[in-house]
Subunit: 344 residues, 4 copies
């Protein structure tokens, strides 16, 4: 890190900073500029609290140099990671995220009944999806809203996998749900509201299931990769990053979908990147365009909400595609995928 | 809610909307305007998913009318709530938040050692604090950063209470920490990153400990009150709302502190409101001004980070006041409190 | 608009609202709901200040129903507008924005010299651009930064048009520059910082030159279309909307590029939409991906900063493509364009 | 500035950066760290485009060290500036902004008629205001909304000054209005939408009238002070900074009012700071609290919208105080002012 002294800082103040830098086990390098003195700190300062230096008299600011994440970074692993979605199936050619083929995960916001999930699973499979999403435990903004079918919903999802071969992706909201979700599902989803639920990150880090980690709605890129780092640091390298839109002042969408994060994440991290245009816009009529744009931007996969009867969906009807709209979208993105030398 | 049809919507489309509205158990009221038709829905639609209507052909948008929270609202309880911080102490005059007196909670970000917390507790008590804050379980952005002393830290906090009589406020990060925190602390803090950790909200809602609920860094006012509603709906009415700054584009602060939320929360809710200018700015040199501004804006309390030696604090040194700065701040806010007919 | 009364509002309060609504020349429709009374106002209320009603006792909020823009809206003109960029050239097949072909405008941030602009113009033409951008008047955040070559720069641009046939796009910053820009350029650009410089909008509205209107960095969609409405209302229908990124908390980019606005603008407006991924990211290594994503999202054109020697560019070097990178990008977007049934 | 090289950058790349740094007239200082090499640049680099360096191979990022503004900064002028509002009146004790006394400017959003402005002026004077605000040229989001009385409105304002002695504060929207506003008004207001209308900044910088410069709704602190720098650099040092709220995701207010900017501006600049809680909240019921909070935070003045009949105000009725509410607010802030050793 670089400690920038205030204009007119005294030599006593600079010496005090140097003393603290050395206490931290770093080596200092004092540069006297035309208007400011800066103290460059040499060494691995990832674990040092730069707040301590900011509080010193005569210090203007402290600028970090090293990215605070490591195992999620491209500096540690040059080639892109390819994550198998169903890591337990011997012999089978399992779907992956991160390779040449764009992996599409689709399905309803919530599992509402066995019939509903089985029906939609067959339609998604037919249209080209590799994974089936569906919530059994639902994080709802209101305590009075439908909270999901819990384990019963997981059983329906497992049954849908038996019939279709689709990988099951479901959200785990709490540490006490991790085991039951591992029992039935293939991929554990961490929702945006839980991106910094560190106990939950640690817990899924102790499993070997692939984790679909959604970006928090106001998380910086650095915070996003540090959340992935929590999981990897516990021993689970199978992290799939998912952009699902951020909170801004925009009011024609539920969230603003910032697609430049796709190439930027690929630049700084080896982890695959999936986009969720359903939550990323909140409007079904914007989903197809944003699916195309995501693939054009380099996304490794998509996660899309679908419902056979959106008008009667228990949750997220406004952003769900019908099976027919989904099939059309798949046709559209296959063309885009070819135009960027991939397939879908 | 009000369903706004598109310009040129057909009568078939309007009839279909009316049918869905009736299916929801609501009564419709169709108003044909100069350019648009709107369908006003009469009845309690708090639990209805308006997304279902948004997806219908011919619908432009659906506008909610009723606030989705109820027990946190002023419509249900007209007078302001006063929350005792130490509800178990018979005979004693316990500190409260929400009454005439501004309740100030102060202490270090993290409990670092017994000596540290005991020393600062005495200094805070002397300067006029009613509560002692200190983290035993720390939510850290990086997995490599100091994660807190856990139960040992809680024991130190309890010892500090024995010596000073200060109410102990500590953060609970996960459902499996709720019991141990209840055993030692007086007030359970839900951090900003966990404001929508619904399982945790339910769990603290099952206790009777006062809950200091921090606003998420991108939570709307409605989401904030719905998080409080989760706790109250489980049976615990002792919720203290805490504004701690939001994430915006501003870069001279760690967070932007939006103080207009103080009078707005008082307008729509009966719950007391506390402000955290330490996280709300991230800079110790801005804390005193923002403490004064918070009290002038009508805050019922403050929560302030302090450390005897900020340069060596394990966490949050940059935003911690020294004991002397804290005592000066208390003098300052006592004057402001009198100017708004309160005391501190 | 819909006036929502507070819970428990009195009949006197409701009658007072009704009186004000009638004074505004609107017809009221009072709907008594289970918990709230609402007053629906019938008539064209676009020009009414709803703030007046919000201030009445007993009123909770006022919800607008009609979009405040009209001539920019799809309700007034169903088919998409196609804007010729060089409307004065008889006989020639002039480039347009809004048709099947994606129109690409490229060139340096600033005109630095005649040699520079002539050289880059030929390279852009060769690679497939239809317009040449280049600033003669530069809006600079700092008063000490290079402010542009003014009329001399415009002459160089006109010379480049003579040699290449490219349409000249240049920014006009102030009402006293409109005439000279009209004299030399084909398309007048209104920069993001001037999107709500209403006097300037009126002034370019009095010309017949196509106007490339950049979205303000914190403008809502409604404000963006109202800025277009200013220009159209003065008699100039040739408005091209340009998304160039918005200001958010994201810090790995200069601006966040929200591509869902492309299909949303097409849904509500007939005007063509161009995207500027150079300002929209601020990083040259993100530009190609965002160009592709923009075309996939349905953009009618792109505006891209290029420089033969970005390391020595006087302005915006960090976001400029080299001519070679630009040519590669063009190859890339041609493939995407075909995949969405367009060409580039 | 500090050039941070990528991990693994080559010596050729570092040498190339050094060459460019020298070309800029700066001296380099290469520091080889454990994981990264950084090149510290010594010299005044305020006028250098760091984008040029960001584009070099092997460069990760470029971190500025010097603030880009100078004449607005506290480094150039240590003591706080006190700006007289009516600089032409010999002998009189003119009101000022920046001294011990909080200067309150009040009045309607728009001048609607002579009678209206004269009536409100007397009421404001009586309640303790030192300035009268009122718009003659109105920046309106919609082209169809009331645009102000222009010069006639200015005459009414001047008449109000004759009768009351209040300083006249009025907005100038365009370079061609500067002269006429100078003829009638005492203080020129630059609106938030024009904060980066650089031609207008230059023009008011050529006058000697005090300028009330409103912060743009998404301007950073640095951009705000650079806008002030434009005015000062042209020769007019009489700049009063005005915070009027920023655009965020918050929806219970028109804008989010970030009061920590008040002490921060005082820390880095010598210019006085005024707060506008009317635009800063958009809700009349929040204005009094935010006036108090502003004064407690250290504001040197307030600018408040008032109207004798807000229900019939032509503009901004929802955020206007009645004269009686204004008088009560003044009583309230006098008490707060005393509590921070000032007066109002």
């Amino acid at each position: 890190m670089i400690v920038v002294m205030k204009n007119g800082s005294s030599s006593v103040q600079i010496e005090h900073v140097v003393k603290l830098v050395r206490e931290m086990g770093l080596k200092e390098h004092v540069i006297v500029g035309a208007e400011r003195t800066v103290v460059a700190c040499i060494g691995n300062d990832r674990l040092k609290d730069r707040g301590a230096l900011e509080t010193c008299d005569g210090v203007d600011k402290v600028v970090p140099i090293l990215a605070p994440y490591k195992m999620a970074s491209r500096e540690v692993k040059k080639e892109r990671s390819i994550i198998p979605l169903m890591n337990s199936r011997a012999g089978a050619v399992d779907p992956t995220i991160g390779g040449r083929k764009i992996g599409v995960i689709a399905g309803p916001c919530s599992v509402e009944s066995k019939a509903q999930i089985i029906e939609i699973a067959h339609l998604m499979k037919e249209a080209g999806a590799v994974g089936l999403r569906g919530g059994a435990f639902k994080p709802r903004t209101s305590p009075y809203a439908f909270q999901g079918l819990a384990e019963e919903g997981l059983k329906h999802l497992a049954e849908a996998r038996e019939q279709t071969g689709l990988a099951i992706v479901t959200e785990v909201m709490s540490i006490d749900q991790v085991q039951v979700c591992c029992d039935y599902a293939d991929v554990l989803q961490i929702g945006a509201r839980n991106m910094q639920n560190f106990n939950l990150l640690n817990k899924v880090g102790e499993t070997r299931k692939p984790v679909l980690l959604k970006r928090g709605m106001s998380a910086t890129l650095e915070e996003f990769l540090l959340a992935a780092e929590y999981i990897i640091a516990r021993g689970n390298p199978n992290v799939i990053l998912c952009e699902r839109g951020i909170r801004t002042f925009e009011d024609y969408v539920r969230n603003t979908l910032p697609l430049a994060i796709v190439p930027e994440l690929h630049r700084v991290s080896h982890l695959p990147v999936v986009v969720d245009p359903s939550h990323g816009t909140g409007k079904s009529y914007l989903v197809e365009s944003m699916c195309k744009a995501s693939v054009a931007a380099g996304a490794d996969g998509l996660i899309v909400e679908t419902h056979a009867d959106p008008e009667h969906a228990m949750t997220d009807g406004a952003q769900s595609l019908t099976p027919q709209q989904f099939a059309e979208m798949m046709t559209g993105i296959r063309r885009i995928a070819l135009a960027v030398d991939r397939e879908a």
